[in-house]
Amino acid sequence: MIDLIAITDHPGPPLPGSLSLRAVPVDGLTAVCAPAEREDATVDALWRREETIEALMADRDLLPVRYGTRLEDDAAAARAVTERRAELGAALDRVRGAVELSLRVIAADDPGEARADDETGGRTRSGADYIRAKACLVARRDAGVRTLHEPLSTLARASVKRPPRPPLELLRVAYLVDRPAVEGFTALVARAQRSSPGLRLLLTGPWPPYSFAER
């Protein structure tokens, strides 16, 4: 049994030697395979997979394959790629020369400012004060997120928004950024952080284009 790791161009640079990877060429593409992991999915196994894909990403464009895609042998891998040749080729073209950057934004202003149990100057705040404070907070955060995402998305080739995790997270986006533009993108995030004291920005990458491998 083999695990399908990634789809890359063919021919490509030699595969990193230490990882017992094998290249199965299929009609202008390469299915990068590895002997099937014997153990169940563990955090270590996931990290090993991530390191492998990142090592490949260092010197080639690739489509990461969903973890756990297991096939009988090289011939089965070749058949699987042939069946979706056009779709995979188009997807690889879409991410060519680009990497994924991940942005998470959380609110650092006090979410407790509209809490129910707040008391102002010894008296319990009124219902109107409470709901207006909430409205104000929501509007401020929405505006902050909008002014942040728009300039970044113009610098990226594509972006995918994921549902943010409450209560603090406001934005979770994956950007597909041309490799040479990563530095400029990072600088823009740093600038955005300076002008948004109520938000905290975390930018990580470059990652394999996980969010852009499928349309």
Binding site: I106, D117, A128, R132, K134, A135, P166, P167, L201, L202
Partner: protein, 113 residues
Amino acid sequence: MSDRVLHAPPDLELFAADRPEIEDALSRRINADPENVQRGLAQLVLTVVELLRQIMERQALRRIDGDTLSEEQVERLGRTFMELDKRLEELRLEFGLDEEDLNINLGPLGNLL
């Protein structure tokens, strides 16, 4: 992983709230002892109530923005949400649930809230 951080604020630990999640996702087991069943049920019910609260609150905020409500109506709405917020928090604490627990991961659909 730290070599993948391109930009981080000094208070990076704010982002660490959901870090144990990978382990949780890999070792999810159904634990059917009576106490856990009760807690699980409370979690499910409170999540649905929280979802409804958020939807109603969004709606209320829109109406306030639209300036179609009298001052008295705004006060009444505010008081209702304030009470709801307080009561929901009390119930949450009673069942030992975090704010994060009032959310359900729907797999490919993302989180409920």
